[in-house]
Amino acid sequence: MADQTMAYADGDPHHVRGALEHSGPASKRIVTGYGFWIFILSDMVMFSAFFATYAVLLGQTAGGPRGGQLFDLPNVAIETGFLLASSFTCGLATIAADARNKFWFQIAMTVTCLLGLAFLTIEGREFASLVARGAGPTRSAFLSAFFTLVGCHGLHVSGGILWLLTMMAQVFAKGFRADIQRRILCFALFWHALDIIWIAVFTVVYLLGSAA
């Protein structure tokens, strides 16, 4: 065994093979992150089905209100601003976690949580006002598709906030262990991905949907 190692080391003493040399199996951080990346992409495939449904059913209002009569675009712009800002503070939390700074990590995560809750509050009030105006999910195929798509995104944000609070508690109790750092990586991927999906939501559902 020792001889083989020696032979290997002598086989390329000047490292001329350079980049072709592999340094063994990928680290657990890469494997975990990559696996979660695949999950996020499959989540996006699921959302694409909801987007396709919404686009197909956009005109099927069954005599009910159309998107342009229902959507309050300034409200949506504020909502978008909250989610975008929360994505930014989530990035700051990632930097703080890499720097192993507990104080700034908890601050950044708290701000992310508050911004996420503000987003959910605005969305909840919008849903409540739509239902109160008789434009609930049962009114038309268009509104069913709308509530399914936007509601599914809202559920993801709610789940993300629960995960966020879990990460804050775990960092508080256990510190920046390697496994906690991997969970923070996955959480950051999840939260940024939600913001990417929201770009598609405000463009397709609200901006294009109110023109139609």
């Binding site: 350079g18 992150g33 990559y34 990346w37 992409l41 495939v45 694409s48 396709a52 463009t203």
Partner: protein, 132 residues
């Protein structure tokens, strides 16, 4: 670590979401997120502005909105998720490309098929008369 080994390390994969650091400190990373935030705000504001204005030729607006949205997704991928074109990101990019392919097939295919069915279907009032 020898110099040769570092060269090898430079070319292995990094996890999605991890940044490839070229000796940059915290301030440089924060600056990266700030640039991303600025670009995202610019693109979002443009989207909302052109959706509500009469300044432009109206049929061009949906196309412009879609282009702006795709541009902003690119900004988020690069500045927030750190998915880049570098050699250490090949696996992440390939998975993303496959995801985009499936998303395009699902959305494009659904719209195409449903538009075709709508086009070929008899208008609803005529259909009701046949059934009587």
């Amino acid at each position: 670590m020898t110099k040769g080994h570092q060269q090898v390390d430079h070319n292995i994969d990094i996890a999605p979401g991890d940044e490839h650091l070229e000796g940059g400190g915290i301030s440089q990373r924060v600056l990266g997120y700030l640039i991303g935030l600025g670009l995202a705000i610019l693109l979002t504001a443009t989207s909302f502005f052109i959706a509500g204005t009469d300044l432009f030729w109206q049929p061009s607006i949906p196309v412009a909105l879609v282009v702006l949205a795709i541009a902003q997704m690119g900004v988020h991928l690069v500045f927030f998720l750190h998915i880049t074109a570098g050699a250490d990101n090949t696996n992440n990019i390939l998975a993303l490309a496959f995801g985009v392919l499936i998303v395009m097939l699902v959305i494009g295919g659904s719209l195409w098929i449903m538009a075709n069915l709508n086009h070929n279907m008899m208008p609803m009032d005529q259909l009701m008369q046949i059934q009587r």
